[in-house]
Symmetry: C2
Subunit: 261 residues, 2 copies
């Protein structure tokens, strides 16, 4: 069995930082951090007590595992610089197919934690679902052995499954956050602060732990209450796009409710 | 000072149930529950150990406070049946103007708790912001005295402010929940269950407690990453509306990010 003790991190962004910190706390030996941006590289390296480089040519070649957590469009160039290494190379991207490694890397896989990360907010990896894929069962097993020390929620997922997971996460994370952002813009016009919405926001998130989202749906769009909907559309008239968003989401809610019954 | 000891509840839906339970636990004397639906009326009356009626004509006339928590379009008929009462009549609706009582009721106001309620899930009222309005300062003071025994977050809000609050709540609650519902539809195609999204959903809600939503925004739409966006739009092609939702929200996120900088 492969022992993934020596790890090189490629990337020093939000995900890289939190994953590196989590592994560091579990006593994994992260021997190097690479980032194009010196400040990011140094910051992360200091946190996990290791070296860094900003040059792809200086990446160590003797690691057991290379975790490539750079932006999607930077993955190809990082892979090219890792040609010939014997360690397992994984990327952490939801929408990038595993075949990006084909013909370039010998041992490879994907390590996709389904979570949103910030550099300065530590998260509890125990609860984070991690989706794994690898080019063979040995490498998959090695990745599982590593991942199980971080999280209890491990899954195997194909590249196609992972792309769907990522798309659903865009809706339940990025788009949800944008709804918060729009509600903040709106509430400012009342003179009240966004903070008064937090108990509501928390309860809406808490509800779907025990109710299906469709069953938890409330609001004027459920019965398509035209009087309130028209009033609220009028309040949004200054910004045409917000009106369109309100309209299409209300229609979508109503359609989903109608289909259900 | 008016002492609002004797309370009649009009309505036995989600909000009415939770508000009545909260007042009951604080030893307020709820002397009657009215609902058009006998089963709802009985259920709530049993929970709070009181009588019920399904007839507007049988509503007691000697209460200190009438809490009208029926659907928006049923408010006028309830108000008509309360003509001549001396107690304070309040409604609990976000989008209904206080002037709906004008010329019909002598003492009136609005009692708007900004939260989503379910009949079978008790919520902690202490954290719920309650927005109050009344036709004079005596009645406002009486409502405040009642509300402070339930919640620490009391605010005065005009009908116009309350309408804006309600609209912002539609975005941060109803539309957010619909994003969850769409993400559930999507994730089912991967073979994974909605539950794997819960740690992400919780973290997205937790983040906006300390970061402005705009600052917390992540995902392909922030930089308008056309490669991923086009891929994801293609995955949604079967359902034209979901594609439109994805498109308009991505544009809106990108525009908001661009404006910020």
């Amino acid at each position: 069995m492969k022992d993934l003790r020596k790890i090189v991190f490629l990337g020093a962004g939000n995900l890289a930082t939190q994953l590196a910190l989590a592994l560091f706390r579990k006593n994994f030996n992260i021997t190097q951090v690479y980032s194009r941006t010196e400040e990011s590289a140094r910051l992360l390296a200091e946190k996990i007590n290791t070296n860094f480089t900003t040059s792809l040519a200086e990446i160590k070649t003797d690691a057991d595992l290379y975790i490539c957590a750079v932006k999607d469009d930077a993955i190809p160039s990082v892979i090219n610089s890792l040609k010939g290494v014997n360690g397992i190379v994984v990327h952490t991207a939801g929408s990038v197919d595993i075949n990006i490694f084909d013909g370039k890397i010998q041992n490879y896989g994907v390590f996709y934690p389904l979570q949103t990360f910030s550099k300065y907010r530590d998260v509890d990896f125990q609860k984070i679902p991690i989706f794994l894929e690898a080019n063979n069962s040995d490498n998959l097993f090695a990745l599982k052995t590593l991942a199980i020390s971080l999280s209890n929620n491990l899954y195997e997922a194909t590249s196609n499954q992972r792309k769907i997971l990522h798309l659903s996460a865009v809706f339940s994370s990025n788009f949800v956050n944008h709804m918060y952002a729009l509600s903040e813009e709106i509430i400012e016009e009342s003179g009240f602060e966004f903070q008064v919405l937090l108990p509501l926001i928390d309860e809406v998130a808490a509800k779907v732990h025990y109710l299906k989202p469709q069953e938890a749906q409330t609001g004027p769009a459920v019965r398509y209450d035209k009087i309130i909907i028209d009033k609220q559309l009028n309040m949004l008239s200054e910004t045409e796009r917000n009106q369109k968003i309100y309209q299409i989401l209300s229609e979508s809610i109503h359609e989903m409710t109608t289909k259900k019954h």
